[in-house]
Amino acid sequence: MSMPEATSAPDAPVINMGTAIRDGLLEAARRDPSVIFFGEGVEDPAALFGTLKDIGKHIGHDRMIEMPIAENGLIGIAIGAAMAGKRPVVSLQRVEFALLALEQILNNAAKAHYVSNGRHNVPLVLRMIVGRGWGQGPEHSQSMEAIFAHVPGLKVIMPAFAEDAKGMIAAAVEDDNPVVVIEHRWSHYTTSPVAEGYLHRPLDGPRTVRKGDGLTIVATSYMTLEAVRAADKLAEAGYPVEVLDLRVIRPLNLDPIVESVARTRRLMTVDTGFRMFGIGAEIASEVTSRCFDLLDAAPVRLGLPDHPTPSSRGLVKGFYPDAARIARTAAEMMGLDDTRISAMEEEILADRKDLPLDVPDPFFKGPF
């Protein structure tokens, strides 16, 4: 089992993904005075889960634009500012708040370049946070990347690791296209050594975070962490599997996935959105049509079931895919016998102890 390639020195400061995003935004804004921030509570004490903390102190408060509660108007305003040469970073506390601005995002941000025959650019970053946990419920914890990823002209990224997030957020700010950044609240807690100063990570798609021959798991965002945990258990049991962190949902770079599946001959996807019409469906169908005859098993997609996200801990039981389910599904696909699978599942559950379902597992404090 190999660890993810580390570009930050191992003795770099260990920080969590929330702080890494803040540092990445600050460095990008320091390098380019056209970067301006829009947000609801952009400089309030919570500073959007700390991801914008003290940025105004370093770059000037006039570049921190407090948003009235008017998402469609304000995101449209940010798009207009981007057309005129600014690099706005709009930060929303929840994915759902972006839904009020879908008209602006899907019609104007995504299309301004196209319908100007290439004359306009919209170098806009739209950050939105998946608020899973603590009973956030149907309208505060959705993961809607499939909606944005459906639309040509947008880029959609979902970093899962601190170092990656720092470098990718800088790349998102520097990109000449509108980039939707979907951050999972639980990924904000993951930690890793992250190089200080400016860091750039190209938005170029999947990254292998675990190596193995038994199966390819393509995971997104926080589900990558659950998949890694499952992969570590499977490896301990002698069945190493490959885990790819998708990172960039659109443009979708399938080559590393196809290359991996051609080797492992099995594909599982696990993402943070609804299973139906989701990211997994897209990947499974593309991979199937590209290497149908190399597959030893039908691809399997894990995702959310076909109902809104309930709030109650009782109701979310079994709602989210987790490491135990990922491990079981993988083991079944590889043809392991049921006693071994059950034992592994028990171990994963035991590791989690009596932790409530609506808080992140401290396991994910890394470093990864």
Partner: protein, 322 residues
């Protein structure tokens, strides 16, 4: 014109006439089925586009809506590129991607036309925000129809523009209808200017078919906006043809023939021509000359559009990403 103070008068008359002739020619040739996109004509509304744009500098910015021909031309857009766009040709101002409802040319400050009601209002507010940052003295014009005042995004934008002191003029062309629905069926009986007033935005309400009145109000609005005070103009006017398409539609029952005729007498082009003739600024013969020369230019543009090649299907893939 000898008198420099009168220069703008002939310029504006010619511009209104040009827009009129372009749109009349579109209406005439539309049945040929070569312009295969919806067209929203502003015949009868020319004074607002021309009066407002004449108050602008060439690098001031303008955003428009589905009814964008007059705005595009008045802002200095290229007539040939506009016609090629309407014909869906490669030489169109955006290569045939958009058609009549997506006219733009940033080189002359024509930023975009967007056919979703009110959708371009925040974009305009955003360029004004950017220009304020850059202290470049530019003003943005946001042309909007009366229906736009019903969309939340107008209020969101107006609130923000006032809050931040943005150099923007919201120009409401009130033609009384949203497709077939009367203003009275869509909004309560109150002055439209109460809405910007509620946001603390300075405003004027003038006859939108009176070129001089529009231009004067626009000069005030633009100068006020340049100093960081957003403004709002209500210009009352009327569209003669159907909402979308080349025909008259008074017979279908949503508006009366009498109402149409009342407005018909307020023809902004005819009114201005008469006024200039009566004041001796323009002789009758010179209007005929103007008409002849302008129609020739219009015919050239149509010929250009018709002979321009269609874009190749592969071109549709370009410019998805910058």
């Amino acid at each position: 014109m000898a008198d420099a103070g009168n220069d703008y008068r002939l310029r504006c008359l010619k511009q209104m006439l040009r827009i009129r002739l372009v749109e009349e020619t579109i209406a005439e040739r539309y049945a040929e089925q070569e312009m295969r996109c919806p067209v929203h004509l502003s015949i009868g509304q020319e004074a607002s586009a021309v009066g407002v744009c004449d108050a602008l500098l060439s690098d001031d910015r303008l955003f428009s809506s589905h009814r964008s021909h007059a705005h595009y031309l008045a802002k200095g857009g290229n007539l040939k590129a506009m016609m090629a766009e309407i014909y869906g040709k490669r030489d169109g101002c955006i290569g045939g991607r958009g058609g009549s409802m997506h006219l733009m040319d940033p080189d002359v400050g024509m930023m975009a036309s967007i056919p979703i009601v009110a959708s371009s209002i925040p974009l305009a507010t955003g360029t004004a925000l950017s220009d304020k940052f850059d202290k470049n003295g530019k003003v943005t014009i946001s042309f909007l129809g009366d229906a736009c005042l019903e969309e939340g995004v107008f209020h969101e934008s107006a609130n923000f523009a006032k809050l931040r002191g943005l150099p923007i003029v919201y120009v409401c062309e009130n033609n009384l209808y949203s497709v077939y629905t009367k203003l009275a069926d869509r909004q309560p009986d109150r002055p439209l200017t109460d809405i910007p007033a509620a946001h603390g935005i300075a405003h004027r309400h003038v006859d939108g078919n009176d070129l001089e009145a529009v231009r004067e109000a626009a000069l005030w609005a633009v100068e006020t906006a340049r100093s960081g005070n957003p403004t709002f103009l209500q210009l009352d006017t009327y569209r003669w043809r159907e909402h979308c398409g080349p025909n008259y539609d008074n017979h279908i029952g949503y508006r009366t023939e009498e109402e149409f005729q009342t407005w018909r007498l307020q023809d902004p082009l005819e009114r201005y021509r008469k006024a200039l003739e009566e004041s001796g600024t323009l002789g009758p013969a010179s209007f005929a000359d103007l008409e002849k020369n302008t129609q020739a230019e219009v015919n050239d543009a149509f010929a250009f559009a018709i002979t321009s090649p269609l874009p190749e299907p592969t071109e549709a893939l370009a410019h998805v990403y910058a």
